[in-house]
């Protein structure tokens, strides 16, 4: 019984830790795209861990609702990231000055170096 409680507490606090890492990345990282790296990944895993711990705690009738909330968060979060990134790429596109642009469409990895954002049309 003690191991069960310890396991649930571990899930809860590790979820909070990953949410904290996501928020810290949102504050510390320098431009929009790198901020989205932190928020998309860490928020998704943190929410999944806390939802998994709550699934052990609530009764049997509510597990399906929590599962559905988890599935929706896991499928919606990358989608929102994708939409925000594409709109920012179209509009103002603030990126760090040392960002590299690379075109690997018909070549293997090192590809062609591109000079700027206007050359990489997706």
């Amino acid at each position: 019984m003690l191991f069960y409680e310890l396991f649930i507490c571990l899930l809860l606090w590790s979820g909070l830790f990953f949410l904290f890492v996501g928020t810290l990345g949102l504050i510390r990282l320098p431009d929009l795209y790198t901020r989205m790296h932190a928020t998309s990944k860490c928020d998704t895993l943190g929410a999944g861990l806390i939802l998994m711990a709550m699934m052990f705690l609530v009764g049997r009738n509510e597990v399906f609702k929590l599962l559905m909330i988890g599935v929706f968060i896991w499928s919606i979060n990358p989608l929102i990231t994708h939409v925000i990134g594409y709109m920012a790429y179209l509009r103002d596109g603030e990126h760090l000055p040392e960002t590299f642009f690379m075109d690997c469409y018909d070549l293997p990895y090192p590809g062609k170096e591109m000079s700027g954002k206007e050359d990489v049309h997706a």
Binding site: F18, V21, S40, Y89, M102
Partner: protein
């Protein structure tokens, strides 16, 4: 008339309605007769309204049982990769010097189906150091956090698994 839509794919129509009905019964509180009637009407109406977007003429909407098993294995591997990605991002964010060298990279996919392409783009977003910015036919614009992860996205082993799942439709 704008509300008259052609149904090209009756089997796919049935399958999609059944998936929506399962979702309805998971959410609904009780199994009374009125509940079932309302759910059936709503699911049929939603599928009928969206049928031009769901069922394209060349690509019938089918799910084989073997594809479901392959999808389950794929999702387990994806969950492991998500944990690896989170530890990677946590190590970068918590280190005091912020070792990043970001950049955009344009990649070609081997996948043919639209559904698997969407799944691939979403799973690139959840795996180490890369997020998808745009997906246009078979060109993927990916933003990478460091140069090493940019190299990793070009030949990624999970793409081959999705390709197998796409090919094994026939049986």
């Amino acid at each position: 008339m704008y509300f008259q839509k052609r149904i090209d794919d009756p089997k796919g129509f049935m399958l999609f309605t059944i998936i929506l009905l399962i979702f309805w019964f998971l959410m609904s509180p009780s199994l009374s007769l009125r509940n079932i009637a309302v759910g059936l009407v709503c699911c049929l109406a939603v599928t009928y309204f969206w049928s031009p977007d769901l069922f394209k003429p060349g690509q019938p909407f089918r799910i084989a049982p073997r594809q479901v098993a392959q999808l389950a294995v794929y999702l387990l591997l994806l969950a492991y990769n998500v944990v690896v990605a989170n530890v990677h991002v946590a190590l970068i964010v918590l280190s005091p010097k912020l070792p990043i060298s970001p950049g955009f990279i344009l990649v070609k996919t081997k996948l043919q189906n639209e559904l698997t392409r969407t799944l691939y783009a979403n799973s690139i977003t959840l795996t180490p150091g890369t997020i998808t910015i745009n997906l246009n036919s078979d060109r993927l614009l990916v933003h990478a956090l460091t140069k090493g992860t940019a190299q990793g996205v070009c030949d990624w082993h999970l793409e081959n698994r999705l390709r197998e799942m796409e090919v094994s439709k026939g049986d």
